[in-house]
Structures are given as C-alpha cells and as structure tokens.
C-alpha cells in the first residue's frame, strides 16, 4: 500500500500543497481533483520520485520510497502527459521496448495481442508518426496491459481518446482493481469504474 504523510511541495516560491496525507490500499482507486495549476501533476511526479518533496514522507508497504528506490519502481507504473513513444519506431517496437525498460521481456505475440485489444489492429507495424494523436495515446496505454505493476499512476490518461477507448480504459482499471492493484489518477473527464468506490482528493 501507498502511504503519504504530511507531504509538502512547492514549485519555485509558490507552495502547491502542504500537510497532505492519505493512504491507498490494495484494490482502491483515487482521483486527484483540482483546478489547472493546483499541483495535480506535481503530486503525481512527487509520488514517482521525480520531484523531491519539501517535507513529508511517501512510503510503500511501510518503507520510505526514497530508500526502496528501484524496488519501488518495479511495483509502479507511471503514465504522464508525454506518451514516451518514438515516432520512428512502430507501435510494436515501441511497446516491446518500453516493456523492456520496465524490466520485463515481452514476446511479439503478447505485444500484438495487447495492441489489438487497444484497437490498433492492422497498425502494429506502422511507424507511430503516421498514427493520429488518439492512436498514439492508445499505444502508450497498451503498456497498462503488459505491465505487472501494482500501482498505476496515471496523469490525464483520457486525453485525446474517443468514447470507445475511454470505456476500454475503465474496463482495464476495473480489472486491475479486481487483481488488488491500486490506481491514482487525474482527469478532467468523467471516469467511472463499475462497482468501485472512487475516492477523491481535492487540491486547492
């Protein structure tokens, strides 16, 4: 489980949030809410360890993530604003490489299956530069299917996606929660997961 206590974070001189505490247990989902600039992305990036908090502690299963370091990275997956896909590579190559970077070897069959489930049938071998914005986002989101991380940190996962893809993401999140995974995310679009209580955290 993920536990955050008395977290404070600022960008430049501007204090984004302070005294932020919450805990996320297996099978729970939490939405971070707040206006533009309220620090949603900064909070998620702090949880990833990109930003060092001014104060407070983030712990994973009782241990400080700064000490766990790579052991924590093995348990989590972050999907940011940027898709982290290369224009020159095909969707298939992109997916296999990003799985490799997160430490798992993905064979071609599984990768193709994941891309097809994301609705990219017939486009697996095209360079991603010819794909549309939404399709690129789908390539990035295909990582959710091939990752065995327990904690998903999703920053605006629904941008550029159509209605069908949004439904698919909701389905993936529901499956992940049923496996006792944890999800923490931000979005400005409505996202509902059937049968799950959605916790929310407001930043102001």
């Amino acid at each position: 489980m993920l536990e955050v206590s008395n977290l404070a974070c600022s960008r430049g001189d501007h204090r984004l949030f302070s005294d932020l505490s919450f805990a996320l247990y297996p099978g729970q989902i939490m939405q971070i809410q707040g206006a533009n600039g309220s620090g949603k992305t900064s909070l998620l990036r702090t949880l990833c360890g990109f930003i060092i908090p001014d104060d407070g502690k983030i712990s994973w299963c009782g241990e400080d993530v700064r000490e766990l370091d790579e052991a924590y990275f093995a348990e989590m997956m972050y999907l940011g604003h940027l898709n982290a896909i290369k224009d020159e590579l095909s969707a298939l190559e992109n997916l296999r490489i990003s799985a490799g970077l997160s430490g798992t070897e993905l064979n071609e069959k599984d990768a193709v299956a994941a891309l097809r489930r994301m609705g990219l049938r017939g486009r697996e071998r095209l360079p991603t530069k010819v794909l549309s914005q939404g399709q690129r986002r789908r390539v990035a989101l295909a990582r959710l299917l091939v990752s065995d991380a327990r904690l998903w940190i999703l920053d605006e996962p629904l941008t550029a996606l159509d209605v069908g893809a949004v439904a698919l993401i909701q389905e993936l999140i529901a499956e992940h929660l049923a496996r006792l995974g944890m999800v923490i995310f931000t979005t400005h679009q409505p996202l509902e997961v059937a049968g799950m209580e959605m916790r929310s955290l407001s930043l102001s």
Partner: protein, 227 residues
C-alpha cells in the same frame, strides 16, 4: 513474464538507439561530414608543405574529432527528454546506470566509430606514415569512447536548458584535454621513434576510469535535471 537481465537490458538500449540512428541517418552523417570537412580544410588552408602537414596531422585530427563529438552530444538525451522516454528510463526498476551505459555505447558506435574508420583516409591527406596512422587509430579507439562518456555527463547536466549546446562544450571540452594530450603525444612518440606504450596505457586507464564512474555520475545528473 520473464525478467530482463542487466546484460539484455544493455543490449536492448544499444539496439534501440542504433535502430533510431539508422532511421534518422541525417544526424549521423552530419557528424561524420563535419569531421571530414574540418580535417580536409587544413591542408588546403596551410598549403602543401609535407613536413608541416605531417607534424600537425595528429593534432588536427584529434581536435576535429573532439569538436565533431561535441556536435552530436546535444542529441544524446534531448530526444528522449522531449518525448517522455527519459521519464520512463528514470523509473526503470533495474539499473539506470546500465541504461545510461547503453546510451553511451550506442552514441559512440554512431558518432565515434565512424570517425575512427574514416581516419586512415584522412591521414593520407597529411602524408602520415602507416605506423603513425596505426597509432592514431589506436589512440582514437581508446579516446573517442571517453569523449562520449564524459560528454554524457555534460549532456545530462545541460538537459532542457536554452543554449545548452554552447554550455555543453564549455563544460566538456576542458575535461577532454588529457585525452587530447595523450592521443597526440602517442603519435608524436611513434614518429620520433619512441615507445607509445606509456601514452596508450594512460589512455586505457582513463577509459577504464570513465567506464566505472561516468555512467553513475550521468545517472545522478539526469535525476537532477528531471526535477
């Protein structure tokens, strides 16, 4: 799912960067063409006096190699930084240092190795002896990886800065002076009939030192730049 060993992670990064370089060939060619152009301008500029050309050849080739490698260093991390791949690399559960080492290795294969391979032809322009060319190539083989590795630290520190390219050269070039001195020194030693082993061993020692320390230092620099 099968876990990736550190070695296969290294190979994955090297292969990825080589594939990307092959699909963006213009970037690779600019470095090589720059090197060839700079070196070829000297005989035209200073005139065809053989003795002088022979004497300045190692220095010219080494300085051109240094500048050419500066040219490509800016791209080492910037593309990955802009499209978000670097974020994912920092979250790699295995070793970031190994990832960085992979990127350094492929950077050398793309921008250092072609220069070394081009050297015999360019050496002939300066009327260098076969022996001198041999030593020059050996020196470059040992030295250009050091340039890639030390340069990577600078590239990581200047990531995302405006005018980072100039700053990068200012940071890295002074650190490359020892490589330049030993590299040219080895060629001068062989042409005056002395042993080259001391120069080349020192260069080898620098290479080992760089191999041990620079990946870790670069990894730390990347973490600072991402904040």
């Amino acid at each position: 799912m099968k876990k990736l060993s550190l070695f296969s992670l290294l190979m994955l990064v090297v292969r990825r960067d080589l594939v990307l370089a092959m699909r963006r060939r213009a970037d690779v060619l600019t470095t090589l063409i720059f090197f060839v152009m700079v070196v070829s301008l000297f005989p035209l500029g200073v005139g065809p006096e053989m003795g002088m050309l022979r004497k300045m050849a190692p220095g010219v080739l080494w300085v051109a190699a240094l500048l050419a490698s500066m040219l490509s260093l800016g791209r080492l991390f910037s593309a990955d930084y802009l499209d978000g791949t670097l974020e994912q690399m920092l979250l790699a559960p295995q070793s970031l240092s190994v990832l960085v080492l992979g990127k350094m290795a492929s950077h050398w294969m793309v921008s250092g190795l072609p220069l070394v391979l081009m050297t015999p032809v360019l050496g002939l322009q300066f009327d260098m002896s076969i022996q001198a060319i041999g030593v020059l190539i050996l020196g470059l083989l040992l030295g250009t990886p050091i340039l890639s590795m030390v340069g990577a630290i600078g590239a990581a520190l200047t990531l995302g800065l405006r005018g980072g390219g100039v700053l990068l050269s200012l940071l890295v070039l002074p650190l490359c002076i020892p490589v330049l001195i030993f590299g040219t020194g080895a060629v001068e030693a062989v042409t005056s009939g002395l042993s080259v082993s001391s120069h080349l061993s020192l260069m080898g020692a620098l290479l080992v030192l760089a191999l041990v320390f620079t990946p870790w230092v670069t990894a730390q620099a990347l973490r600072i730049s991402m904040e």
